[in-house]
């Protein structure tokens, strides 16, 4: 059990820190949350800077154009960029953390050459076409149909909760190519160009008031068969290959951020006198334990992945379950510290409190994560 970093890791950290200190002050101001073209340009611009500095696709394999960094280096990257206040992955999330790694792992050489470099260079944005109005947690129940017509698939159906759909160039789309097969078996993974005729994007307004994602309607959209990644009807396996990565490292930077926010909440409480309330003070102390432990669990999971050649284990579900609830408790505690001010939408913590409500739903609800932990880790029987 060793929590010290190697000299190489420390050197990597020092170089990254130095680079961040040099480039961050010169960044343009962040666009407003509803300025989608502005957000796209900002996020792609940041990705281009990462690319030029040699930090693009840090955790991708070298033969996919990445840097082949170890899980620990990736952890350091996420920790340092958060501490320095660097931009988030933003619109590049799906491309860098999901579609890209999927294509890198399952795509043909031609597919890798076509789609991977633009993700790394910050030239193309991907969105995720998985969920449907009638297939959220039960993803395999998706009904969007694709049938063959010559060299094309013709796709009809609808997708929902599609983040960045308005500004995406590509959509990683799950479609049903064999309606007669058992539900996990008849699914294929397609790369759909978002400018194809027949696609309608309707933004959805969240309870936080913003348009974070959209509904996407597909009316006989033609997608070349050559855009299918993996074998026909093998899309479920293709998807599962990369879903665990999403749960593995997606929240590392956020834990660092939560620890910073908790410190700010404590400082605020001291300023406004709420700190003198022992119950509230102790509640903040308890949250300190929570986020410290979540950081240790992150280090544990990353070390385990490193020993297993970079493959994240099921520990991601354990982490996500506790983290998503802890994040909500953090902002509830912040609201208690703020008092009436917590009702002001102009307060950063108020918007964060609202958006934290999605954490126990997105990327697999807490209820589904409990099932995953119970069945895959504890070996309890599947049931109805």
């Amino acid at each position: 059990m060793d929590l010290t970093y190697t000299p190489e890791e420390e050197e990597f950290r020092a170089r990254l820190r130095e680079w961040l200190a040099g480039v961050l002050p010169a960044l343009p101001p962040k666009p407003s949350p509803d300025d989608w073209p502005g957000r796209r340009a900002y996020d792609l611009g940041w990705q281009r800077m990462l690319y030029d500095a040699g930090y693009a696709g840090l955790h991708w394999p070298v033969d996919a154009g990445g840097r082949g960094a170890t899980p620990t280096q990736h952890l350091i990257y996420l920790e340092e960029t958060e501490k320095a206040g660097a931009p988030y992955v933003g619109a590049n999330f799906v491309g860098l953390l999901h579609a890209g790694p999927t294509i890198a792992s399952e795509g043909t050489p031609a597919q890798r050459a076509r789609w991977l470099p633009p993700v790394l260079r910050g030239e193309e944005v991907w969105c995720q076409g998985f969920s449907e109005p009638d297939a959220g947690s039960d993803l395999a129940a998706l009904r969007t149909r694709a049938w063959r017509d010559g060299d094309d698939y013709v796709v009809s159906g609808s997708k929902i909760w599609t983040s960045h759909a308005e500004v995406a160039d590509w959509c990683e789309l799950l479609v049903r190519t064999d309606p007669a097969a058992p539900k996990h078996r008849g699914i294929s993974w397609l790369a759909m160009p978002m400018d194809a005729p027949g696609i309608t994007v309707r933004p959805l307004r969240t309870l936080a008031g913003s348009t974070e994602f959209a509904e996407v309607f597909l009316d006989e959209v033609r997608v070349p068969v050559s855009h299918r990644v993996g074998a026909e009807n093998d899309g479920w396996r293709v998807t599962m290959v990369t879903l665990s990565y999403e749960r593995g490292t997606a929240f590392v930077g956020e834990v660092v951020a939560c620890r910073r926010v908790l410190g700010e909440v404590a400082r605020e409480a001291r300023k406004n006198g709420r700190w003198d309330d022992p119950a509230l003070r102790r509640r903040l102390g308890g949250l300190n334990a929570e986020f410290r432990a979540l950081w240790r669990l992150t280090q544990w999971n990353v070390s385990e992945a490193q020993r297993n050649g970079g493959v994240p284990g099921v520990g991601g579900s354990v982490f996500k379950l506790r983290y998503s609830h802890a994040r909500q408790e953090l902002y509830d505690a912040a609201a208690e510290v703020l008092g009436p001010e917590a009702l002001d939408l102009g307060r950063e913590w108020t918007l964060d409190r609202l958006s934290s409500l999605s954490y126990t739903i997105a990327a697999g609800t807490s209820q589904i994560q409990h099932n995953i932990v119970a069945e895959r880790i504890l070996g309890l029987p599947k049931g109805r």
């Binding site: 059990m1 334990a289 240790r296 544990w300 119970a374 504890l378 049931g383």
Partner: protein, 309 residues
């Protein structure tokens, strides 16, 4: 950074588990409950021979020369099997009290919380136990005395021997307590899962029902979070890390035992089931120094000291 057990640490943990399974298995535990709280001196000496108490003493002083992480793994195993006796006090007395390292001398201590475990059975008491009054202890395998507040809990008193060593004993007691809680929490989770797989209701194992599944999953989540916190605290020996570990381990053990009882249904409420022993021991340990309030206040103070400058 390689925050995983080394091969040696795995071997140590497996060795201790094997020893305890052979010497203090489930039947021995139940027999001990029936016999009442008498310390098994032969077992104590065997633990001494196995290096349980001398684990962190330098080899030059006849110890094993290992560190806090190894000690934590050993206490976790002790917690798994609900090994009775003043294990932590004797471990902390190794090298200070003659015979503690070898298990010849049983040492107990007045805890900061004002309780003394195993007072009547111990050879040496560290701290002032003047006026100690016996309780009727909730845990059948942890006899308790309460010490009057005025008595003080410093480690000088009736039968004091030597100094406390380099590190203050309170954080170490809290860390080892957390390790024991972790072991009990993991055992409670396994016990619940075993029962959920075997017990059938409505024509299927109860573990197939989501209500049961989610209870079990929550138990594991608490165990794994506590494990990361306890192991990290053993590596850093930082008082704030120890407080975090203690808080999460206490929660994992107490709530884990309660959930395990719930999964067992009516059977869990009987004396025959072991579940109440998990819960009663877990409750007993929460009263030791560094409990919930103390830990939360320390962790709160840390928030201010880190950011408030």
């Amino acid at each position: 950074m390689d925050f995983q057990l080394t091969d040696d640490q795995r071997a140590l943990k497996a060795g201790v588990r094997e020893l305890l399974a052979a010497r203090f298995g489930r039947e021995r535990l139940r027999a001990a409950v029936d016999e009442g709280p008498r310390l098994d001196r032969a077992l104590w000496r065997e633990l001494g021979e196995a290096g349980f108490f001398a684990l962190r003493l330098p080899e030059a002083d006849g110890g094993v020369g290992l560190g806090l992480p190894e000690a934590v793994l050993v206490f976790e195993e002790a917690g798994r099997v609900l090994l009775p006796g003043p294990l932590i006090a004797t471990h902390l007395a190794a090298g200070v009290v003659d015979g503690a390292a070898t298990g010849e001398t049983v040492v107990t201590a007045v805890d900061g919380g004002g309780l003394v475990e195993w007072l009547a059975e111990a050879d040496v008491v560290r701290g002032d136990a003047t006026g100690a009054e016996p309780l009727r202890p909730v845990d059948p395998l942890t006899p308790l005395h309460r010490v009057p507040v005025s008595g003080g809990a410093g480690l000088t008193g009736v039968r004091p021997v030597g100094s406390t060593g380099a590190l203050p004993t309170a954080p170490l007691t809290s860390l080892f307590t957390a390790a024991e809680q972790l072991g009990t929490a993991a055992r409670a989770c396994e016990t619940a899962v075993q029962h959920a797989r075997a017990r059938e209701q409505f024509g299927q194992p109860i573990g197939a029902f989501q209500a049961i599944k989610h209870l079990c999953a929550q138990m594991l989540v608490r165990v794994e979070l506590a494990r990361a916190a306890v192991y990290a605290a053993a590596v850093t020996a930082d008082p704030v890390d120890i407080a975090a570990a203690r808080l999460l381990a206490d929660e994992a053990a107490v709530r884990g035992a309660r959930d395990c009882l719930q999964v067992h249904g009516g059977m869990g409420f009987t004396w025959e089931s072991d579940v109440h022993l998990f819960l009663k021991r877990a409750w007993t340990r929460t009263q030791r120094t560094g409990g919930v309030t103390e830990s939360e206040e320390l962790l709160a103070a840390d928030l201010v000291s880190a950011v408030g400058r």
